[in-house]
């Protein structure tokens, strides 16, 4: 027998004796609990407003708490101009990005040499870039998070290796909460999942030294979210 069969056999043998259900009434006749639905989860999770305006305001508050820089602009042109402004202020020399829907237009406006990570690339060269610019799949109002995948955002390293991560998004990509974010991921990728799905909430951080918050532990020190 393989180790797999041995372990599964031990598990089945162990489970032959039923365990009491969670909670205080140990009624053996009680049926096994059903897994919570999205509506159940929404009943207990932190509240999110109903309207787009409430949700974008919540996202803005969360981003500020997390020390992420969130800017809502009116169109793609304004987004490109905003990006150009940050580029000048931080005197970027080299940028990295991928051929996405919004990143294409954004990068063109920069007028910098751009390393594209959706073609074969050298990771040391990516490490030398000042910024990684990526698309995303969703923004989550409830937590101020960005959802992206290895397929939608130029692979695994682009969003975490350069010291500054810029996310470009459309306002339609804002979802209210985490149950909606997972539903979106399932609907979009259910047939064939990418190798990585990441929910990013604020710039990289640590408080391992005396519980004092330091931004930019190993990942980006700055996270900018530009939404049009």
């Amino acid at each position: 027998m393989s180790e797999r069969d041995n372990m599964l056999a031990r598990i089945r043998e162990a489970l032959a004796v039923p365990a009491p259900m969670p909670g205080h009434d140990h009624d053996p006749a009680r049926p096994a609990p059903a897994l919570p639905t999205a509506a159940d989860q929404r009943r207990v999770l932190p509240a999110v407003g109903q309207s787009f305006d409430e949700q974008i305001a919540l996202f803005r508050r969360n981003a500020a708490d997390l020390r992420a820089d969130f800017r809502l602009v009116k169109d793609l042109e304004a987004l490109a101009a905003e990006l150009k402004g940050i580029c000048a202020a931080e005197s970027w020399q080299r940028a990295a990005s991928h051929g996405g829907e919004l990143t294409g237009a954004a990068c063109q406006a920069l007028g910098l040499p751009v390393l594209f990570t959706d073609q074969a690339f050298d990771k040391r060269e990516l490490a030398r870039c000042d910024v990684g610019i990526s698309d995303c799949d969703a923004l989550v109002a409830q937590t101020g998070s960005v959802v992206l995948t290895s397929r939608s955002a130029g692979g695994r390293a682009l969003s975490v290796l350069p010291p500054h991560h810029v996310v470009v998004a459309r306002r339609e990509q804002l979802v209210p909460d985490l149950p909606a974010a997972f539903a979106l991921v399932k609907a979009k990728y259910g047939a064939s999942y990418p190798s990585m799905i990441s929910i990013i909430t604020g710039p990289s951080r640590t408080s391992d030294i005396e519980r004092i918050l330091v931004l930019g532990a190993h990942g980006p020190k700055k996270l900018t979210i530009l939404c049009c």
């Binding site: 797999r4 372990m7 043998e13 162990a14 489970l15 004796v17 039923p18 365990a19 259900m21 969670p22 909670g23 609990p33 897994l35 919570p36 999205a38 159940d40 989860q41 009943r43 207990v44 999770l45 932190p46 969360n62 990570t117 959706d118 073609q119 690339f121 990771k123 040391r124 490490a127 937590t143 101020g144 290895s150 692979g155 695994r156 390293a157 975490v160 974010a181 997972f182 991921v185 399932k186 990418p194 190798s195 990585m196 799905i197 990441s198 990013i200 909430t201 710039p203 951080r205 640590t206 408080s207 391992d208 030294i209 005396e210 519980r211 004092i212 330091v214 532990a217 190993h218 990942g219």
Partner: protein, 464 residues
């Protein structure tokens, strides 16, 4: 040779009298409590969330065979190699085998309690590999050659001065004792390691059956880099980490962060579902998942304590435990410390040798009350005490109960004993706390409350 019980008593005595140590821990925990409570309050129904999380974990664990098979089927479908390891030794051999096959030299790791559990670092270092812990706290304790102090905050017991001295000694680079500058030193050192590493090893917080993915929660981005840059990736995960569905994370991720660190959600929550897929240009070419049993199935077989496998390793029970907060994480001498460690270690590593941990509790129940998945931790401590004394009662317990039972079952004898006890206690007052006291070992740190002047039965008889 000292037994774990003797060692535990020595360390606990020393550390509970160490006021500086206590102050560091109390300060850290004080900060934690404030933010945790804010985050809990943001939930519309925290108790409802706990109930749902407990029920979801109940389903996962009580149909573990089904969920594990589904997980393996799905993760293998995207080209992942799954290994089943019954023991710590098998897990080490599997991983060392992969390192040999890949001709690896430098290994970068992100935080994994399972790797502490199987002593993976020692095994890899003995085999000649360079192993680098990338989580800042783990990196610090690795430099100091210490085990992690806490399952979430490994270097919580150290001051910035101590960390500066460690960096100075081991890295020759410590500009100041400013936490930000110290963090940047570690960032620079580790940057280069990520780029050099041949193999990246991570743990996982959840294994999603429905989609065949491993969910890794972190704040620093070190696990993201560990999973992005080396050509081979290994995830070592306990079999109990399974969750049935992807959307279960909508509840578990914010609950883990709330209780673990007092955040609404951790900075990076990442799902890994395989090696580099067609059309992707980075990420590992090979992905290995090692499923670890290491006596988890023995705990699974104990229906009474099976819910201890629901644990999501948030560390909340450590943070609220009055014992942990006084004796600290190293005194336990175990991989998993605090209340959850005291419950599972006797089950994973032998009841007789580790039963003393069941007594390192005031049975206040703070652990059970805080646990986000409603594990009845303090009841399990009592059950471990019961199981230990059933299996191998100590000589004094046997004598004590032989004397106690006849006295407690005969009313006349009982009232005689209480009357004598009152006299005896008065006489005892003369020697109490001095070396002449026959009960010195007990009374030097404790007071026995005075026996009541009048028993209930005496009062009943004397009432007008």
């Amino acid at each position: 040779m000292t037994t774990p019980a003797v060692q535990f008593k020595q360390d606990a005595r020393r550390l509970s009298a160490d006021l500086r140590h206590r102050e560091i821990i109390q300060t850290a925990m004080g900060k934690y409590e404030v933010v945790r409570d804010q985050r809990k309050a943001a939930f519309q129904d925290w108790q409802g969330a706990r109930q749902m999380a407990a029920e979801t974990k109940w389903e996962a664990i009580n149909h573990l065979d089904r969920h594990l098979e589904e997980f393996v089927r799905n993760v293998e479908a995207r080209g992942t190699k799954v290994h089943w390891a019954a023991t710590d030794q098998q897990a080490r051999e599997v991983i060392l085998g992969i390192l040999r096959a890949k001709n690896a030299r430098v290994i970068v790791k992100s935080k994994a309690m399972t790797s502490e559990e199987i002593h993976l670092n020692e095994a890899m270092e003995r085999a000649g590999y360079e192993v680098v812990e990338s989580d800042l706290g783990e990196f610090i304790v690795q430099l100091r050659e210490e085990p992690p102090y806490h399952i979430v905050f490994p270097a919580m017991h150290l001051t910035r001065e101590e960390i500066r001295d460690t960096f100075q000694r081991k890295l020759g680079d410590a500009p100041s004792n400013n936490p930000e500058e110290l963090t940047m030193v570690a960032r620079r050192v580790l940057r280069e390691k990520y780029l050099q590493a041949d193999v990246g090893i991570t743990g996982a917080n959840f294994a999603i059956a429905e989609t065949g993915m491993l969910s890794v929660t972190e704040n620093e981005g070190n696990a993201r880099l560990t999973a992005a840059l080396p050509r081979t990736m290994i995830t070592l995960v306990g079999i109990e980490k399974v969750l049935p569905r992807l959307e279960d994370l909508a509840l578990f991720l914010p609950m883990l962060a709330t209780m673990g660190t007092g955040q609404a959600i951790s900075c990076y929550n990442t799902l890994y579902g395989g090696p580099r897929q067609p059309g992707e240009t980075d990420g590992p070419e090979e992905y290995h998942v090692v499923l670890l049993d290491n006596r988890r199935t023995a705990l699974l077989a104990d229906a009474e304590q099976r819910d201890a496998l629901h644990c999501i390793r948030c560390g909340a029970c450590l943070n609220v435990c009055p014992i942990y907060r006084n004796i600290g994480g190293h005194s336990y001498g175990t991989t998993y410390c605090g209340p959850i460690g005291a419950v599972i270690t006797p089950n994973l590593r032998g009841l007789n040798e580790w039963k003393h941990l069941s007594y390192a509790s005031s049975l206040c129940g703070a652990c059970s009350e805080t646990c986000p998945v409603e594990i009845s931790l303090h009841h399990h401590l009592l059950q471990n005490r019961r199981n230990a004394s059933r299996r191998k009662p100590s000589w004094w317990q046997r004598i004590a109960f032989k004397v106690f039972a006849p006295a407690a079952t005969r009313p006349g004898l009982w009232s005689l004993v209480t009357r004598m006890g009152r006299l005896g206690q008065r006489a005892h007052g003369l020697v109490k706390g001095s070396r002449l006291d026959p009960a010195y070992a007990w009374t030097k740190t404790r007071d026995l409350p005075p026996i009541a002047r009048q028993t209930f039965r005496e009062w009943w008889r004397a009432r007008p």
